[in-house]
């Protein structure tokens, strides 16, 4: 293999989910097997690198200085903000079609073991949003583990006290279509804790 090929392979290997073998296969495919695809890929990469940004308001993906598609949609309720860890979490909730408010993407959660502190999260803009008074309700859709729990606590402790916002955390319980029998005891416990009136 040539030095340039190896450089490309090394760069591909840095990508998530791609190991040494996959990197080799992709590089060979691009350079030897289907070289015609290469210019389109290079152009797409360059264009995306130029234009894709974080939405200044919520942290979702956006083009240039414009707000993201969710923030730009005037039919959505800007007073209800769903806080998620990552952009794919937002995509998953969007796909469900169950939420008509807007989002805030933290781009991570507090994780001292991985050296992620509050400064590494997209927190300040959220606090600004709450302070501006535009937010009535926060729905915390963070993961159901120690780090998600700690992030929720940290966040709620730092909300400006002047504007009263309703804060809730999404429920943890039985998966849809799942019976009680096959749920583990922790899931059952949170499902029981989070039970609702039947009416």
């Amino acid at each position: 293999m040539t030095p340039s090929f190896e450089k490309l392979q090394q760069a591909l290997k840095q990508l998530p989910g791609i190991g040494y073998r996959s990197a080799e296969r992709i590089a060979l495919n691009l350079l030897v097997e289907k070289p015609a695809r290469l210019p389109a890929l290079v152009a797409a990469l360059e264009e995306a690198a130029q234009s894709v940004r974080r939405c200044a308001r919520c942290g979702n993906l956006a083009e240039g200085d414009a707000p993201c598609a969710v923030c730009a949609d005037e039919r959505r309720d800007a007073g209800v903000v769903c806080v998620v860890e990552q952009v794919p979490d937002l995509v998953a909730i969007e796909r469900s079609g169950a939420f008509r408010g807007v989002y805030h993407v933290l781009h991570g959660k507090l994780s001292p073991i991985n050296g992620v502190g509050p400064g590494d999260l997209n927190l300040a803009t959220l606090l600004v949003r709450v302070e501006s008074g535009e937010v009535r309700e926060l729905i915390l859709a963070l993961s159901n583990d120690v780090e998600g729990e700690a992030t929720c606590h940290y966040l709620t402790q730092h909300l400006p006290s002047a504007n009263a916002v309703k804060v809730s955390r999404i429920g943890f319980g039985l998966p849809s279509g799942g019976g009680v029998l096959y749920a583990d005891s922790v899931t059952l416990k949170s499902a029981l804790d989070a039970r609702r009136n039947y009416d």
């Binding site: 507090l110 001292p112 073991i113 050296g115 509050p118 120690v146 992030t151 606590h153 940290y154 583990d184």
Partner: protein
């Protein structure tokens, strides 16, 4: 539960062996250092994928071999027959149970219980709190999936708080965020430990009575590092109050990770006041209590692994020990001499330099 066959490859000094067991009593006989205990150790892995001799599974691999494998066939009270296959590598392990891959320890731990009696057991009386805690945690986690979850949740939150304490710039607010997760996990773990110790203690008293006819009653006494009620609010306040000291030591100094328990006789700590023989009987009784608790709790009789411990007892105590053992439990023993034939029909295997051969 009864072990019906044991296949080993590249496990410690055993290159390859296949053993079949038919009866209740099995004994590996051989000189010192021939590999008798290695065979028991392999069977002991069935409980929690941990050796009763070492916390480091890499030591179980034969020298210069990339992997060790163990396949067992079992008769089991709940699932009928089962085939368990465990492959250990330097960087991890793979477990299959009846041709299904076991993905999580929680799905496996405790399903195939064994209880090991070894000469190292006396460390449970005399040794460090860490050793006692490890034993209690593994035994309880094997019996109660919720104990394992509580332990893992506690460890995770503790690790996060300790990482914060090690980094210079952690704010009080960050510490508090993880204390809020740590305190309920600690309360949960302490409550579970307290319950487990109470149950084990009751079994211990019964077992001790049978193997040592003495007036002094044994007990298991929980010594939590935080000695008040396991209340999440109070624990949270303790954590907040100890931040200054914890920052100085750059770790969480106090908490459930420093818990201990004591074995007492007649109300006095057996470590300081028990005689050699009393201590020995006490740990045997503790292991018998563990086996009885396993059986009571899960309906499965653990396989008892007796690693030459009985060699250290005098004839009277040995007899009492065998009388205290559940007569239905399978016993796999090791010894340098043939076992006591009055106990029943032993299936004997000779062990020499990692080679095991059945005695006709």
């Amino acid at each position: 539960m009864r072990l019906r066959s044991l296949n080993l490859r590249h496990f410690r000094n055993v290159t390859l062996t296949r053993l079949e067991f038919s009866g209740r009593l099995v004994c590996f006989v051989g000189g010192n250092g021939q590999g008798k205990t290695n065979l028991l150790e392999a069977v002991g892995l069935l409980t929690a994928l941990r050796s009763f001799r070492t916390p480091d599974n890499r030591l179980l691999l034969m020298h210069n071999q990339p992997a060790a494998a163990l396949i067992c066939e079992l008769d089991h009270e709940r699932v009928g027959t089962a085939k368990v296959s465990i492959t250990l590598r330097r960087d991890g392990k793979e477990v299959w149970c009846d041709d299904t891959r076991v993905a999580k320890l929680a799905d496996f731990i405790g399903r195939f219980p064994t209880v090991a009696f070894s000469s190292q057991d006396q460390q449970l009386v005399r040794g460090s709190p860490a050793g006692r805690r490890r034993w209690l945690d593994v035994a309880a986690a094997a019996m109660e999936p919720d104990y394992l979850r509580a332990l893992l949740a506690y460890d995770k939150a503790l690790e996060a708080r300790n990482s914060l304490l090690k980094s210079e710039g952690a704010s009080d607010a960050e510490l508090e965020a993880f204390e809020v997760a740590l305190a309920p996990a600690a309360a949960d773990l302490i409550a579970r430990r307290s319950a487990v110790i109470a149950t084990l203690g009751a079994h211990l008293a019964k077992a001790y009575e049978r193997i040592a006819s003495g007036a002094e009653r044994p007990a298991l006494v929980y010594r939590p590092d935080f000695d008040e009620e396991p209340d999440a609010e109070a624990l949270l306040a303790r954590l907040a109050a100890s931040r200054g000291r914890d920052r100085m030591f750059r770790t969480t100094v106090g908490g459930a990770h420093r818990d201990d328990f004591e074995l007492t006789l007649g109300g006095r700590d057996a470590k300081d006041y028990g005689s050699e023989g009393q201590q020995r009987s006490l740990v045997l009784a503790l292991k018998l209590a563990q086996a009885a608790w396993f059986h009571e709790r899960s309906g499965v009789r653990p396989v008892l692994l007796a690693d030459d411990v009985l060699g250290e007892l005098d004839a009277a105590r040995r007899r009492e020990f065998w009388q205290a053992v559940d007569p239905e439990s399978q016993v796999i023993a090791t010894g340098t001499a043939l076992p006591d034939a009055t106990l029943g029909n032993w299936r004997i295997f000779r062990v020499a330099d990692g080679e095991v051969s059945p005695e006709p």
